[in-house]
Structures are given as structure tokens and as C-alpha cells.
Symmetry: C2
Subunit: 813 residues, 2 copies
Amino acid sequence: MDDDVPLILTLDDSGSSVSAPLDDLDREELPNENGGSYDVVNDASSPAAGDCCSQQSSARHNWEMNYQEAAIYLQEGENNDKFFTHPKNAKALAAYLFAHNHLFYLMELSTALLLLLLSLCEAPAVPMLRLGIFVHATLELFALIVVVFELSMKMRWLGFQTFIRHKRTMVKTCVLFVQFIEAIVVLVRQTSHVRITRALRCIFLVDCRYCGAVRRNLRQIFQSLPPFIDILLLLLFFMVIFAILGFYLFSPNHSDPYFNTLENSLVNLFVLLTTSNFPDVMMPSYARNPWSCVFFIVYLSIELYFIMNLLLAVVFDTFNDIEKRKFKSLLLHKRTAIQHAFRLLITKQRPSGISFKHFEGLLRFYKPRMGTRERYLTFKALNQSNTPLVSLKDFYNFYEVVGLKWKAKRNREHWFDDLPRTAFLIFKGINILVKSRVFQYTMYTVVAVNGIWILVETFMLQGGNFFSRNVPWSYIVFLTIYGVELLLKSTGLGPVEYLSSGWNLFDFSVTLFAFLGLMALAFNMEPFYFIVVLRPLQLLRLFKLKKRYRNVLDTMFELFPRMASLGLTLLIFYYCFAIVGMEFFAGVVYPNCCNSSTVADSYRWLNHTVGNKTVVEEGYYYLNNFDNILNSFVTLFELTVVNDWYIIMEGVTSQTTHWSRLYFMIFYIVTMVVMTIIVAFILDAFVFRMNYTRKNQDSEEDNGIVLEMEISKEEVVGIIELYKRSSAAPETAQLQKMVLQMDKYGQMSTLFLGRRSRTKSDLSMKMYEEEIQEWYEEHSRKEECQPPLQEPASASKSCTKPQSLRQRSQTVI
Amino acid sequence: MDDDVPLILTLDDSGSSVSAPLDDLDREELPNENGGSYDVVNDASSPAAGDCCSQQSSARHNWEMNYQEAAIYLQEGENNDKFFTHPKNAKALAAYLFAHNHLFYLMELSTALLLLLLSLCEAPAVPMLRLGIFVHATLELFALIVVVFELSMKMRWLGFQTFIRHKRTMVKTCVLFVQFIEAIVVLVRQTSHVRITRALRCIFLVDCRYCGAVRRNLRQIFQSLPPFIDILLLLLFFMVIFAILGFYLFSPNHSDPYFNTLENSLVNLFVLLTTSNFPDVMMPSYARNPWSCVFFIVYLSIELYFIMNLLLAVVFDTFNDIEKRKFKSLLLHKRTAIQHAFRLLITKQRPSGISFKHFEGLLRFYKPRMGTRERYLTFKALNQSNTPLVSLKDFYNFYEVVGLKWKAKRNREHWFDDLPRTAFLIFKGINILVKSRVFQYTMYTVVAVNGIWILVETFMLQGGNFFSRNVPWSYIVFLTIYGVELLLKSTGLGPVEYLSSGWNLFDFSVTLFAFLGLMALAFNMEPFYFIVVLRPLQLLRLFKLKKRYRNVLDTMFELFPRMASLGLTLLIFYYCFAIVGMEFFAGVVYPNCCNSSTVADSYRWLNHTVGNKTVVEEGYYYLNNFDNILNSFVTLFELTVVNDWYIIMEGVTSQTTHWSRLYFMIFYIVTMVVMTIIVAFILDAFVFRMNYTRKNQDSEEDNGIVLEMEISKEEVVGIIELYKRSSAAPETAQLQKMVLQMDKYGQMSTLFLGRRSRTKSDLSMKMYEEEIQEWYEEHSRKEECQPPLQEPASASKSCTKPQSLRQRSQTVI
């Protein structure tokens, strides 16, 4: 891109050397309209349109307010916050600002976590963490009071009207109320009662700002529910039919305990759906009549192999559809946010675009940490026409551009270019060596040999304590090789470049771990010996060799954040069930319990003497209990894995009532939903990525979005001037350094590279390219209230009121 | 469409009343070119272009040959047979015709089935079906001789060169050879040796013409293998790493039998992958240190919940891609077939299209059963321009049109329109009643009440023999209601219309079954009592109420043929494994075996007396054996369901060597492949259909493809004339009847409706509409050898030789 000198000059708002006809009003430049809500802050009447003789400071104040509101709009667009929660006046704004920073968010999160972690110490507590009732109840009350404080801040910001209409907040308030009362009751009675409501504590976590991804997952799960339930009904319907059929067919066989009543028949077919009791449930009837296996084969074929897959298909299909619609609504929401922000940043005199001065003001609030140089680069990257103003059309790219990280394009190729000649040649040699194929394949061979070595070594080493002996020499040899490789690579490529690759980082950490393992071995530090066995992870490097693995592993890393949020969602469900489980089933299973049930063997614990030897017969299943929250989590994980879950169910059932089965069955269905969503998600993400790769086979190798931008010295000087004249905090040090550097190297301009990693949204943008245009058109057709934006503001005044905003946001989302 | 009289007149080839300028050559009309391969049959020199004075009969003979070859080309296109197997001369044609009819196909199928079923009677035979060695070896030899005969016919048709190049046929020949020798050895030695090669018998079934779908599935499975294996390696890699890790961590614990050696560690982690030993494998270490559960949770999360789903994703993605490519190649193959056929049907004089005479000749060979009326309708449906000739462009629609079933559009609306007034009114009333919403919802209510009734009844009826008592009155009441409904519906709609709906057919059969059940109850026919319990199936009707269920059930029915073929594919794998299993493991497990293994309990069979009561302790697992092929199949199904498969594996392993585990593990992986393909298939089919529905929301309700065509009386008379003059068998009875009927009603023309159900291919055509055009263009660019077709034939002569055909077909498929 060429330097465009006029642009710089007009940036200088003094109007001294500028040709633009509108600049005479620059200093008293007024916001386009009265859209900003916060100008009541100084109780002055809002500066009416054309009120040019109002005080300069007031105008500046108004501008600051506008910048802030625009930044809030843009943030709302980014976070997908609905516009009807937009702060409406100065008081609300103060509360909004108070409630929207990382300190507050952290407080929210830690309160929620504290509340959740309390269940470690409450009644059926983890033995080591048991606290007195007085202590944990007080802690709980304290945390609840903090939540009350948070909620009151939110109320101040939202206003009472919006507050009671915001569903999630209202639910939270109710839960808070109940918890409060219960905590007080506990404190007064000094004893815990049955508090299933503790399961609702997770709502405090879900409501945290940082848990947006979890909320999104939950929404997606609930949206996928209707089709899921439909198919589930089909599943249950067949189950009932087969239960009746099975009861009629097999109950005459008295040695068959699985079908002797209709209830047993139903329960066992439900368990059979999970295959958990499979050959056993068939065996008594199969022993009597071989053809009875047909019943089970038909049942499993219909239920397990057909309808369960149908379930996945339906969820996958819905998921696909929802993902697309979500992307669409988010895109349009962002667009609307940009429109709102734009309207606040243009002046009455120049309604067609935003000047750098105002753009800079916006960024001061939107990204306070951003340097002045980056701000200007962002502005220039947005501005695709060569005019001094950013038009709305260009401004629509705001979110894509603002995330770029700018760096001056370095002239030197390697980090050692500036070193003396000899050193340069050595490092150059290392660099060439490290980048050569021979070196890479040698390393692969070493890794492979190491892998085989470990395997053989482990195979030879049967039994015994492995870690008390000396450090094996092979360990040292291989570690030395890896160490040398690490050293060569980091010197040859430079430490920064070396660590910027994910694979190298992986190498580095594995080698470091191996070294720590060596230390542990050498100094006999028992607790760390597990590090030693992580060595085989080095083998993962071999998977770099094949493209498909690179693809898969890259996808894996891309999926990771989303997977983590799905895992967290699952944990939240676990928490609810764990609390309920503890309240009802704590302490019901113990060694040698459940003797009346068919699964008594699994709970047996016998310590008897045969001959002169003590034989311990352990069923171990009594360990799968709900005695404290950690045990409950493990038990629930076992239920999630499904295999042999009926043993746990039957054990608990035999010690309580048969209604307990409901708990286990509901849990199974809930995890089935979440698991199906997870599968659908992995499927969707993977297929999407593969399709994308197929569609853009050329641009496949580049990782990330890169933009190039050139800045001339004059421009920089111009900006410095601008900053100097404005009374806002002049952070020109960075810019001045840049000028000095340019002077030093005698350059007239510097080239900058803006870089960011590619997000799912970028991929989607490319995939749906054609449809997006349609959406935009449809969107602008729907927005009757949308002002023409090229006209003066007064025409659109009625549209920017918060009330109408709400209306609009509802049509969008 | 209007009547186009000129068309009819030119159909009359006598040239008496026709305006077409080319008709003077009609009677001696010559095939366009010497493309037909079979004209050597009468040893006459082939009629050279322009050889107008050759004998009329020879010309006709040539035409017959051309018709036949064109029909063969079209059949090859339809069946996706490669063109290089096209019969090349008259001798080959005779063999081709012999080997391509249903009688021959049936022979193929029954020989293959006979060979497969022999394993019921061979060495570890099903007790009731045991045959002497002499008997079954003789039967086998007989079947093999039949296969030899089939293969020799195939060789005659293909020619030796093509025969040995056709891979599948060659494999079959080798297998045949081996089987032959083995069968003779068995006969001579009068004893069966270890005959694992029997597992290869399935190739005879796979090669059957009727098993095309199975072949397609197998091909798809093999095509999906490479990505599958890649991910499988990743899976196994993590398994090995975790096995080493597990060995180091848990082997110091001597009460943990699962990780005491590296081999055990590996095997148990493999089994853990199937979740089959889940909480048990964790329990000993969990009892010692609660934190060891982290190892298992991480392992399962990575392997089971991530990589296994990735496996599905990769297979699904590959599957998707393959399906599309398959559709493309099939489409282009059909197109090429049509081009070949077209070239054989045009005349030198009129190279731009096919006249009805020749089209009719083609259909005589392509669809011998088709009536003359249908042939003409097909011709007319193809012919979209109003000329007497079908151009190549129109002819491309051949496959879409030829499948239509034509029916005269009836003038009467109901079947009872012709009845006397009173009867008409009664039936009309019934018709209105039956179609009313009130009636339908009443029936739904009845069905629902019936369902609840059955449930309650069954619930009340605990134990005892249910079928010896009298027929319950509720059964009779509900059956009567259903009977009345059936009667009303079939009279109101007419039996034909009633049974044409799938749902009505379902109602009918369920009601019939219920009636049979009543009979069984009334006459105390024990073996049929299971029919009674099928009654709840009636409830399935309730699912008609909701659109999603209708969609799902429709998809289910559409999927059924493909599902069946996938099931058959699975059975073929079962067969191979069953044979191998029987050869190695027949008779190794029995009651109270396996006492040395950890699963001894499951094989226990004790009959001891406690107090004065006989207690039978049954582990039942000895029933899951490989003692004969039926037992093997059941055992393999249990292995497919996976739950507790390790008990079967360990039982067999403890009685044989630990290499037996390989058999079970390989079987697990094979079924995993097939099952993943099945899941991918269901997903694909369902998502495809949903996308299709979303794309064509308006035309959603119509079921099938319908074409309307009008025929005037003159046209019919013209065709009759044409037939009468030609010496070919005049089947004009149908046409004459039509003329009579038209005369009777005084109509000048009759409207016909062509109808066929929508196939997947139709859906795909619509889905890929845009891409198809591209494919066609690309295809015609590739086909350099493609003659312009509008020019005289001589130019393209070199292209129609079989040699060049093969070349072309290879570029296409």
C-alpha cells in the first residue's frame, strides 16, 4: 500500500495545513447526535445539534462519553451481550464499569468456586477436609453476601425493570434467597438438614463472566433437547414393547431372575440398552432354548444399533443447524454493535466516516493496553479507501482487524545476523544443519529406537521395585541426545523462533520432564518417579511425519478450549448429581452389604484363612459410593463409562428403595445427552475442518491471518504532533522511538505485519461466503429502524433510544 | 403436451404419407456404423456404409444385433459393469446371454448358499444336522463343479485375456482350486483336517450377481480403511504408552492382577478401551490409592471419548467423500453407456436421433416384459422436442424415464363411482367418515387406551401361565374395533388404494396378527402364543401423529435395503471368523473349565445340596462356545456387543494359548470397522435427507416422481399400423383394447401418469445440481475420443472398437 500523505495531514485537527473544507469546526467538533446516554453526568443540558457555541470542555467531555459508550457497544457485540442490558445512564454506567473488569470477574468466579468447594467440607465431608458446621456455614454466609453485593451492582447497572426481566439473573436471585435461608437455618440449628438445593449452587458458577462457553454449551444442549426427546420416546416405546414381550416369553422360566416381573423386565431391558448386562441377561433363557437369543439380537439391533445411532444423527443434524444459526446471529449482532458504535463516533459535519482522532478515542476505552502505534496501524488497516475517514463499510471489519498483533517486519533473517563473522558462520552452520532433512530424520530414528528400547526394557523388567536401582545408562544416553538436539535447535533458530512452534515447545517440555525424571531417579525422590514413565511421550513426535496426523493433532489443539468447556459442563452436571447422590445414598454401601441383591459378590470383603494362608476376597464395589463428593465424582464417572453400572445401581437399590433406580437412569440419560453432544461436536468440528481444507487446498499451509501495512515517517511525525496538541495523556514515547530508529537506518517508512491465529469464525466466514451476503441483505431489510447513516443524525434520533434498541436486538437474536 | 401428429406419421416407416425427406431409404435403413460387434454371426461381410442394395433381411438382422448390444450397454451402465467386460463377439454374446438371466443368477446364489450351509453339517456340526463325511464332501464337490461350470461360462463371455485380468474372478478361481483339492482330500482320507480355508467360501456368495450391494459395501469398507488405520495406530500408540505407564505405576501392588506384567497391562488396557472391564480394572489400585483413578480417567478420556470419536469423524468424512465420488462416477458411467447405445441406434441417414422403430427394438431387448403402450409412452416422455427423433440430449434421461410405471389417469375418483345410487351414497359416506380427522383421532385414542390397558394388564398379571385361561374380553373388544376400522377403511377407500399406503399395510398386518393370536389363544396352540404379545406394535401408529417421527420412520424404511446389505456384509465377516473359531476353539470350553483363569466363576456349574434343597450355581458362560456354527454366530454377536467379551476371551485363552487373544482382538477391530461404517452410513443418510428436506421445503410432501403424458387416438392407430407392417411379433392387443376403450368413452386422447418412487440417486441429482453440470463438462473434455455424434459415423469408427472402449472406461471409472 502506498503512503497516503493527505490522510496524515488531515489527522492534524488544528486545521492549519489542511485542505478539507469542514475543518474549521474541528476543535468544537460535535458528536453526530445525542445518541450517547451518559451526558447527564454533569447535569448540563445535552448539547443540542448545531449548538456550536457551547463550551469546548463540554464538547470534549461529550466526546469522551461517546467513546466510552461506543467501546461498550463494541464489547457487547463481541461478547454477544444483548443490547437491552446496555447501561442507560451515568449511574448505570458507573455500575457497569465497576462490574465489568477482571477484578470483579475474578471475585465472581472465586465466590462461586468457594461455594462449590464448600461441599468438600460439609456434612458427608472428605475426611481430611472436614470443618465444623459453624465454620462452613459462616463461610457460606460470607460467600452468599458477596453474591448479594454482586447482584446489587448488576441491578444498579441494569435498572430494576431490566433486572427482573432477565431470566438468568432472576433464577440466580431466587436460588440465592433459598440458599441464604438454608444457611441461616443451618447456623441456627447447628446441624445440616437434607439440602438437595446445594445442587443449585452451580448456577453461581454458570453465571460467571468467564463461564460464557459453559452457558453456550448449556444453551446448545437445551436447544438439541426437543429432537433428542422425540427419539428417546421412540427408544422407550420399543423398550416397553419388548419388556412386555420378554415378560410373557421368559417369566415362565423360574431360573430366570431378569424377567420375573414386568418391572424387572423393564429395568433389565434398560440396562441392556447400555449393553451392561448383556450376555448375562440372555443366558438363563438361552440355556433353556437356544432360539431365545433371537429376542435379544432383535432388541439390540433395533435399539442399540439403529435407534441409538439415529439419536446421534438427529443430534448431529440439529447441532449442525444450530451452529450455523448461532454463527449467523452472532455475525449480525456484531454488525449491529458496529453500527451503534459508528453512529456515536461520526461528527455532524462529517457523517460519512470516523476520523483518526475519534477512532483513537474509541480504542483508548476499548483496548486501553494498546500502544499508539498499534492504534494507528489498526486505523490504517481498516481504512481501505484512501480518504482520511473510515466509512461504515470499512468499519464493519473492526473485529477482524482489531485482534491483529503488529510487529515491524524485521530486516534480518536470523537472530545471529548482527554477530561477528566467525560466530555468524558457526550459527549459520547450525541453522542449516538443524533445518536439514537428514537431521530431522536422524532424530526421528533416535526417537523410534528410544521407543523400542523402552518397550523392550520394560518387557524384560518383570516385577520388583524399578526405581531403587541406579539410573540406567540408556536413559542418560538418550537424554543427552535430546539435550544436544534442543541446544542445537534453540541456538540455530534462536530461542524465540524455536519456542514459537508448538511442536518444539512440546519437545522442550518433554525433554525437561525427562531431565526432571533423571533428577528424581538420581536423588531417589519417590513421589516424582512417575515423571520417568512419561518418557514414551517423546514418541508422539513421530506423528509429525504424516500429514493426516498433523491435521488431526492440529484439530485436536483447536478443539481443546471447546472440549474443556464441554468437560466443565459435564462436571457441573456431575456436581448436581453428586450432591443429590450424597444426600440420599451417603453411607448406604459398605463391605459385605447388599447380600439380598444379585450383585452381592461384588460387594464382598472376606478375610479368611485357608490352610495357613490368609486369603482376602475383595469385591471392591463398596468403594463406589457416595460417601463424600470426591468419591461421588469417581462413582459418577464410572456410571458415565456405563460398563457394569448396574452393579452400582443394584447395590444402592438393595440398600434403599427401588425408586433409587430412577436416579441412576436419569443420570444415564443426562450423560447420554451430553456425550452425544460431545460426539456431535467432535464430528462437526472435524468434518467442517476437512471440508474447509478441501475447499482451500492452496492456502492450507498458512497458519493464521496476516496483514501488511507500511507507515511512512511523515505519518508518524503527524501523529506525534496530533498527540502533543491534544490534552489527552500523550503516550508518544513509542512513536518517537520509532522515528529515531527510522532515522538511524535511514528509512523513509517501516513495514509492519499484523498477525493473528485463524479462528472458527474466520473459517465459517469463508465457508458461508455466499450466504453471508444474503444474511446481510435480509438483515438490513428487516431493520426498518436503521438510519441511512449518510444523512444527518436528527432523522434517526428516535431509533437510538435504548427502548428501541431492545426491540431491535430482539429481532436480531 | 399437445398431440403432435407429424411424429406419428413419420413413425410409419413405409414412407407412404410422410413428409420427411430421408424416408425413401426407410426399409433398407442401415445402422449408423459398424459398431456392433456381433454381425459376424452369419459370416456375411458386414454391410459397409452406403451398401444400400444389401439384402433386407441382413439389414434387419444387423438391426436386431445392434438393439441387443445397445441393450447390453445400457444394462452395463445401470449395473455399473465395466465396459471392458462387454462381450466382444457372437460367441461371447451367447455366453453373456446365458450368464445374464435370473435363472443363472439363482443357480449362482444357491450354489454359494449350499457351500456356506455345508458348514452346518461338517465336522463340528449342529447336532441335528450332522451328516456323514462322505455325504457332505460329495455335496461340496457337486457344488464346486457347478461353480466351475459358472466360471467357464464367464470365461467364454469375457475371453481368456480379460478373464485373467479381472481380479475378483481370479481370486475366485484360486479359492475354487484350493477348495477342490481339499474336498478331494477329505473324500479320500474320509476325515476332516483343519480346514480354515472354508472361511474363504464366502467369496462365492460375494461374487453373486444378487450381492452387488455387499460388494459395494466391502469396497467402501476397504476404501475407508487407510484413514481408519492411521487413527487406529494413534489409538494403539497411546495404549502402549499407557501400558508402560500403568505397568510402572501399578505392578508394585501385588493384589493387582491387571498390571503385573507388560502383556497383562497391554491386554487390560485394550479391554478397557472397550470399557468391558472398567470399574474392576481400576479397583485394586483405587483401593490402595484413591488418586490412581486419575490414570484411568485420563486414559478413557483420551482413548474412548476423544480418539474413538475422531475415528468416527474420520470415517464419516471419508464416507461422505466416497459417496459423492461414487455417485459421480456412476453418473458418468451411465452417461457413457447411453452414448454407446445411442451410437448403435441411429441411422446413417438420420444421425441426429433415434426413431421410435429403433427405440422400440431396443426396449424389446432391454425390457422384454414392457407392453407396447409403455414403450411408446417412454419414447414420448424422453422426446422433449417435438421432432420424430430422440436426440442424444433427450436420450440422456433414459434411466430416469424407463423406470416409470404408466397408468391411465382414471376419470373416476373413487372405486364405487360406477355403483348404483344408494350404494354410492353409502360408500361415499364411509369414505368421508374414514377420511375425517375425528375418525383418525378416535382411532388414535383407542390405540392409546389399548396400550395402557395392555401395560396395566401385564403389570397385574405376575407369574403363572398366562395363556391357558380364557381369552380376555378386552382382547376381543379391541380386536373388534380394529377389525371394524379395517373394514371401514378398505371399503371407504377401496382395497387397492387402502393397501397402497405403507401405514395401512402395517395396520392391516398387525390386525391380522392379532387375529391369529386370538385364534391361537382360543384353540390353545402353544407355539403361536408369541403372536399375542405382538399386539403392542399397534401402538406404533401413534407415531404417525408427529412430523419428525414420520420423517424418521420414512428414512428408516428408505435405509432398510442398505441396512440389510450392511447386515449381510457383517454376517459374511461372522462366517469367516466362525469357521476359524470352530477350527481352533471347538470344544475347548465346557462347564467348570477355566479354573486357572480369573473368570472361572462365569464357567462354574455346580449342583450341590444345601440343607435339603438342591442349589444350582450356573455361570452359563460355557454356553458361549465355538462348538458349531450356530453357537459360534451367537458367540460372535456377544463379542460384537462387546460387554463382558473379555470373559469369553479369557475363558478360551486359559484353555488354549495366550495367542488366542489375537483372534478376539482382531475380531473386535474388524467389527469396530464395520460398526463405524454402519454408524457413518446412518449419519450420512439421515443428514443428507434432512438437508434435502430443508432445501426443498415446498415439494416435501410428494412421494415419488410423477410424469404426465397424453396420447391421442391417432397416435395409437399409427403405432398399430407400424407394428402390423413390421414382421416382428405384433403385440398390439393392448393397443387395440385402448382404441376400443377410447371409442367407447368418445375420447380423442388418454392421459397417462408415469410414476416411480424417488431414489437416492434422484435426491443426489437435486442436491448436487450445480456440480453435476461441471462434471459433465469435465467429462466431455476428458473424452477426446468422443465422436461429435452430429456428424456421420465414419469419423468416429476407431472409437467404438472394444479396445478403445476399455481405454475409455478406465478413464471414466
